[in-house]
Amino acid sequence: MLAALGFVAITMVATHFLGPKRKTSDKLINFESGIEQKGNARQPVAIKYFLTAILFVLFDVEVIFFYPYAVNFRGLGWDGFMAMLMFVGFFVGGFIYIWKKGALMWED
């Protein structure tokens, strides 16, 4: 990891010095297909994306819970499987809920 970090850093610095520098104002403004820049780019984007991010956080944590189970799955046997089914039930419940609620709807 350190190696990767080092590599990246060195390359970054190298490219910084190697490239020619000709700063012109045109070059430094943002590219908007050649049209005059309008407003700040940092404006709210569709809520859908946030929703996806939020759902990811939730479901990802739930998925993480599957891992220890999966690894010890044989040892836990049917009892564990039943308990897991319950968990999966909740997972699916939540999933169906957001589905029906329209959180996964991207067509509009």
Partner: protein, 105 residues
């Protein structure tokens, strides 16, 4: 490493988090500081867990379980928190908590 190191580290992290919450004005930064606090606690719990295992306690795994729960709950909190911050941002176009004084009449 002796457990004290972990304790000091996590308390330091915790204090950084607390200070961040108290000093910073950006809601997201505050939020991250809170997460930092939680993670400091996680670290501490794991350290203590190790300590008690070394001391011969059998139920020391409880602390690790606790960490799991903290992570889950933190995720739930993140979910709600982000939603709230996004909502705030969309209405007020800012996440600076200094504007949170409309309620003070």
């Amino acid at each position: 490493m002796p457990v004290q190191y972990y304790i000091f580290l996590s308390i330091a992290l915790f204090c950084i988090g607390v200070m961040g919450v108290l000093i910073r004005r950006n809601a997201i930064v505050i939020f991250m500081c809170i997460e930092l606090m939680l993670n400091a606690v996680n670290l501490l719990l794991v350290a203590f867990s190790k300590m008690w295992v070394d001391a011969g306690r059998i139920d020391a795994a409880a602390a690790q379980l606790f960490v799991f729960f903290i992570m889950v709950v933190a995720a739930a909190e993140v979910t709600v928190g982000l939603a709230v911050i996004v909502m705030m941002y969309r209405n007020a176009h800012s996440v600076d908590i200094n504007i949170l004084n409309r309620l003070k009449n």
